[in-house]
Amino acid sequence: MSLELVCPAGTPAALRAAVEAGAHSVYCGFRDETNARNFPGLNFSPDELVEGIRFAHAHGAKVLVAINTFAKAGAMDAWKAALANAEKAGADAVILADLAVLDHAATHHPDLRLHLSVQAAAATPEAIAFYADTFGVKRVVMPRVLSVEEIAKLNAAIDVETEAFVFGGLCPMTEGRCSLSSYATGKSPNLTGVCSPPEHVAYSEDRNGTATRLNGFTIDRFGAGEQAGYPTLCKGRFMAGGKTSYLFEDPVSLNAASLIAALAKAGITALKIEGRQRGKGYVTEVVRTFRAAVEAIDAGGTEVEVGRLLAGLVEGGRQTSGAYKKAWR
């Protein structure tokens, strides 16, 4: 079975771009707090989702709808509506994290295929078996803390599909278990579907260059001409133990392209590309490149051939293979 390429779509235009560039599946979310990329101006209305799914299906691609935040106490209606709208629109699966949302989906939408979001941080056979047995989860997105060897062992011990991130933004923290953003700003992925929200980001210039502040906390400083990272809290520069460093993570993005064959051998079903907040140009380029790489691997291509296909993406970028190689830890 060939690897499935799961690609991001922050907007209907990005969905069309991803499908045309060769995505087997596209994932997207509604324009509200039910999904973990709740950035201003992004995401889909229920009508746009219907239209997007029609387009994807007409081109032989699937659409997975991320409803992967934790429902707000006393206000679960938005999450219930998201599940109902996803099913009505003909979504091929929904990607969930919250016990309450999973429970509701399993009870009220028995025909809807359930995937477990990386936000649920299920990293052991016991936890995965629990989600599969209890809610009928069919696929689990691997937490970005596991090495390829660990994924292989995990896949041998479970009987659901697994999906692994291979490209894009990288959380050094275990996703779904991080409150750094709410400590600084009051908003976080689990609470509101955003991390380091743009409305709390401010740049200010002084004698020492430009400071990037997140709700008043300086998360980095740049001299003139120095490249800036996206102002995410955990990718900032801090002082600890007398040293100034990118303590949590360097401003790099994940690129596990060189590990596609190894991940396939480790039993991964699907490869996921991060970036619902990225533009059409980015989506098109990355999806096209990964699709070519996946096909080359299917055709028994050598690592050299695959490496050549991906060279354009790797060159000049600041990238890491993340936790997939144990040295990252």
């Binding site: 016990l99 400590y183 133990g241």
Partner: protein, 308 residues
Amino acid sequence: MPGTEKSIEMTKTGLTLGPVLFNWSADRLRDFYARIADEAEVDRVHLGEVVCGKRQPFTDGLWPELIERLQAAGKQVVLSTLALPYNPRERKAVIDFCRAGELAEINDLTALPTVAGKPFVVGPFVNVYNEGAARFLAGRGATGICLPVELPIASVAIIAAALPEVEFELFAFGRLPLALSGRCYHARLHGLHKDGCQFVCDRDPDGLPVDTLDGQRFLAINGIQTLSNGVEAFCPTPDDLARLGVRRLRLSPHTTDMVAVSRLYRALLDGRADRAETLAALKALDLPGELVDGFTRGQPGSARVEMA
């Protein structure tokens, strides 16, 4: 429901000493818990390593004698399990702890199949953000839930009201556990690999402060864990807690005088001291950071305590 409210008022609010989050030596832990057993005004004590599986071999042998010591002193003992288990040894440790015969606290759903069907408690590392998730866990046997630290106080009240049979607990004192990672930040800072970390996290028994480039006190690292630099000091009145439906507060161990902390909170919960007195007394202790309580006021967690 006036009846429910009355029964809550009549029940004494419980005080829990949470698990030690830091890499303390076996000797230090033994001395610490001996004093807790004899002097601390807490009715429940959590034992166990929840942050790093690599630290477990150093303390595994210690727990049986500490369980006995604390139980003999009249404390209820809860065994806390690892928040991020993934290798086979760590997974086995989680399951063994759950089967040890004491009340277990689950901090990851890895433990759920083992504890389901018998009473257990849920730690703040499990994502309970709404009454649906709480109800689901209660249905599996959860008798108590310590809610996630970032959960807005409005949500706490809604969840607690929906499930009066569950004992809800809030993290009230200590550096806030904010994040976990596959990566060890102590090792990274010291230029080491996690597999050969030399256990450098033991140098910072309250965590290592992380400051911004402008010198603001911000976070603290503890191996794979990131905590707040500020020390949470949620000091509610008994009425506040009755309104919220919260029946237990958690104090998280630090090197400061935890017996004194427990006495201050006991007096606060029994109505023998008011909020201002309690905060002033907490502030006078040797603490690793400023007092914060934003999460309990609908603010960013880093918001400082307002003393007035």
